[in-house]
């Protein structure tokens, strides 16, 4: 996230507290995570269900080969992707603190 899109940078309250779109990106909810989903790319079929069912838009297809990755900046570690993965290609592993 660029500094200019950080809404807290030199924050002055706008008239009526009108907020700019998409600025929640500054809040990296990955810090909430206790378990981290790890994708076994060999087992992954690229079906995309992890992406479909991620409440935080953290599971994403990243190339045309249907490779999927987890955006650990935002993944809260809920584990839905691991539960819904039809080929058990996602494992939840404890975050190492």
């Amino acid at each position: 996230m660029s500094e200019s899109s950080d809404p807290y940078h030199d924050l002055t309250i706008s008239k009526g507290a009108v907020a700019e779109p998409g600025t929640s990106m500054v809040n990296e909810t990955g810090t909430w995570r206790e378990f981290r989903p790890v994708i076994d790319h060999d087992a992954c079929t690229g079906c995309g269900l992890c992406e479909t069912f991620c409440p935080d838009a953290a599971a994403k297809q990243v190339n045309e080969d249907r490779r999927h990755e987890i955006d650990y900046d935002y993944c809260k570690g809920c584990g839905i992707c691991a539960t819904e993965c039809p080929v058990d290609a996602i494992e939840m592993v404890p975050e190492v603190k």
Partner: protein, 316 residues
């Protein structure tokens, strides 16, 4: 907290196309947050959302942050439909009057109002009734997590029979909530909404198709999407979609459309599961399995579902 892997750099992950951006403060495994994603994916950019107070409003808009990449306005708990009525009327006026050429055409904008079940079934029902009765060109979407989760899991008139909440707790004399869920889709249909549907976050393709279909209709539209709350329903965050699926598969949450007042497109079930399989996944129903007499309550819930299934022609 960035990755400390020594593996080759991960490919770039882009959120450019997300209209409900990450960084929102919903619980891990939030069902309603999935609904917000699906709504924005289906409506696209040319959308103005009027949002009621509630979980999804609070988690998405702590000033100066916003998860919304579409135009969005929140006012109070009870008035999202009233606010949406005003937005829609303003665009109608902009179309008809001179001097507003810089605004999008009314017909090119999707006017959407969103509220939880508390905002929809209870406190905002007058506002919703007025919006529907007047026929504003607004799609109202109720995300239904069956209670006041934002304020700490109190019962609403959407809370199912037998569910324990903080204001309908199971106790020595109580099996939890003692009323049946209010039938909002029927109420919406009786207002003359051309398009009414139920949906589930477990069936996103169906949900998004229904949103797109709803938006093809002029006037007021109503969609109610079942969106389990891992916190309020008390299940593991990884199970949100499974619980939502079970709600559909047991007939607890039937999926259907009402178009021009006629029931249609019921998602029928070839092998409807007993409701127990759904109830046992959630702590809010745990007392039904541990307390004497709980089996009778489960039976009552099953009977209610069976009656509803017959009315809807749910069983294949």
């Amino acid at each position: 907290m960035s990755s400390q892997d020594t593996a080759p750099p991960e490919p770039e992950i882009s959120h450019d196309d997300d209209l409900f951006k990450p960084g929102h403060r919903a619980c891990a495994g939030c069902g309603p947050a999935l609904a917000m994603r699906y709504i924005t994916e289906a409506t696209g950019e040319n959308t103005i959302i009027s949002h009621a107070t509630g979980c999804m409003e609070v988690v998405s808009s702590p000033y100066p942050e916003s998860s919304w990449d579409v135009s969005w306005i929140h006012d109070v708990f009870a008035n999202a439909p009233g606010v949406a009525s005003g937005v829609e009327a303003a665009y109608r006026a902009f179309d008809e009057k001179e001097g507003f050429e810089e605004f999008e055409d009314h017909d090119d904008v999707n006017f959407v109002a969103i509220g939880g079940d508390g905002a929809t079934f209870d406190i905002g029902m007058r506002s919703l009734s007025g919006m529907m009765e007047r026929g504003h060109d607004v799609l109202y979407i109720a995300y239904d997590n069956e209670g006041y989760m934002n304020t700490g899991i109190q019962r609403s008139s959407s809370t199912p029979f037998g569910a324990s909440t903080t204001t309908s707790p199971a106790g020595s004399e109580s099996f939890g909530n003692d009323t049946q869920k209010k039938n909002m889709p029927a109420i919406a249909a009786d207002h003359g909404c051309e398009y009414v549907a139920t949906a589930s976050i477990a069936y996103p393709t169906d949900f998004k198709r229904k949103i797109e279909k709803a938006l093809e209709h002029d006037g007021a539209k109503y969609i109610q999407v079942s969106a389990p709350c891992m916190l309020g329903w008390d299940f593991d965050s990884a199970e949100t979609v499974n619980v939502a699926k079970l709600a559909v598969q047991t007939g607890m949450q039937p999926l259907f459309e009402i178009v021009d007042g006629e029931l249609s497109d019921v998602m029928s079930l070839s092998d409807r599961k007993p409701v127990e399989e759904y109830l046992e996944t959630q702590g809010r129903f745990a007392h039904l399995f541990s307390k004497e007499g709980g089996d009778e309550v489960i039976e009552e819930i099953q009977e209610h579902i069976d009656e509803q299934a017959e009315e809807l022609g749910l069983d294949r």
